[in-house]
């Protein structure tokens, strides 16, 4: 098999260094399986895909459902993103759709996933994001597609931080931006 290199692989050491102080935890979670689903949410096909996922497609805007290590995020009224571990069997979702109207597409290479966690994670992201990221309004079970430092991202809250899904070609830019914006949270207290 050809050697895989993730979009933010070159930042691993600097992410590790920035994670040492306890305020932040930065890391790339490379090679997650990502599947884009488009289907009429009221159709039998949507129901069958939900059965294959083991959870229904969330129909409320800006919400996710999570089961084990698989997350289904609402992207639009007829569009979802499934995020699972490397090797996730998305062919089963395609089989559930069958020949009916809709699409199940592997988009794993489109975006990579950055973990921004730790007590200052939301403060860090707020430097470049206009959304209210406070956990009381944007906690587990929510999701948003928006801009972070002028780059398009998908934000998924996690227990102690957020996942930032960023286009592969923007990953290095966003990694540099995160490390730069993190400076004030890493400096030793005087």
């Amino acid at each position: 098999m050809a050697e895989c290199r993730s979009p933010a692989a070159a930042f691993a050491d600097r992410f590790d260094a920035a994670s040492k102080g306890g305020a932040l935890r930065l890391a790339e979670l490379p090679f997650l399986t990502q599947v884009d689903i488009r289907v009429d949410p009221a159709s039998p096909a949507a129901k069958d895909i939900g059965a294959a996922l083991g959870m229904p497609l969330p129909v409320a805007p800006g919400t996710t459902v999570i089961s084990g290590d698989v997350t289904v995020a609402w992207l639009g009224p007829d569009e979802w993103l499934v995020i699972g571990p490397e090797g996730y069997r998305f062919d089963l979702l395609r089989k559930a759709l069958g020949e009916r109207h809709g699409s199940v597409v592997d988009v794993s290479a489109q975006r990579t996933t950055l973990l921004v966690a730790g007590p200052r994670a939301r403060d860090l992201l707020a430097h470049g994001c206009a959304l209210d990221l406070h956990p009381t309004v944007f906690g587990l079970g929510r999701c948003a597609q928006t801009m972070l430092a002028r780059a398009q991202v998908v934000l998924l809250p996690r227990q102690d931080g957020l996942l930032v899904l960023v286009r592969s070609s923007f990953a290095a830019y966003l990694a540099e931006w995160l490390l730069d914006a993190a400076t004030e949270y890493l400096a030793p207290r005087l």
């Binding site: 805007p61 800006g62 992207l75 639009g76 009224p77 569009e79 206009a130 959304l131 948003a144 597609q145 928006t146 801009m147 002028r150 398009q152």
Partner: protein, 93 residues
Amino acid sequence: MMLLIPCPWCGPRDEAEFHYGGQAHVAYPENPAALSDEEWARYLFFRDNPKGAFAERWSHSAGCRRWFNALRDTATNEIHAVYRVGEPRPVTS
């Protein structure tokens, strides 16, 4: 100046997340081949230019990527209503 535009799906977002799509409710001609050049040009290029409420299309391009319509006051930039494609223009006072 930055408008805060309420996407009918995602809620209020910065204008930078949107693309403008011009006047809404411009119907495609039922039989384009039957139009004269002048009528075709009128369909393609002629748009209303009111001072006040204007129904226009926006796309939430950096968010849910859906098109929707907004009723915006061209003089004050106040957005009176947003509504989904296919819904009629809301009546405002």
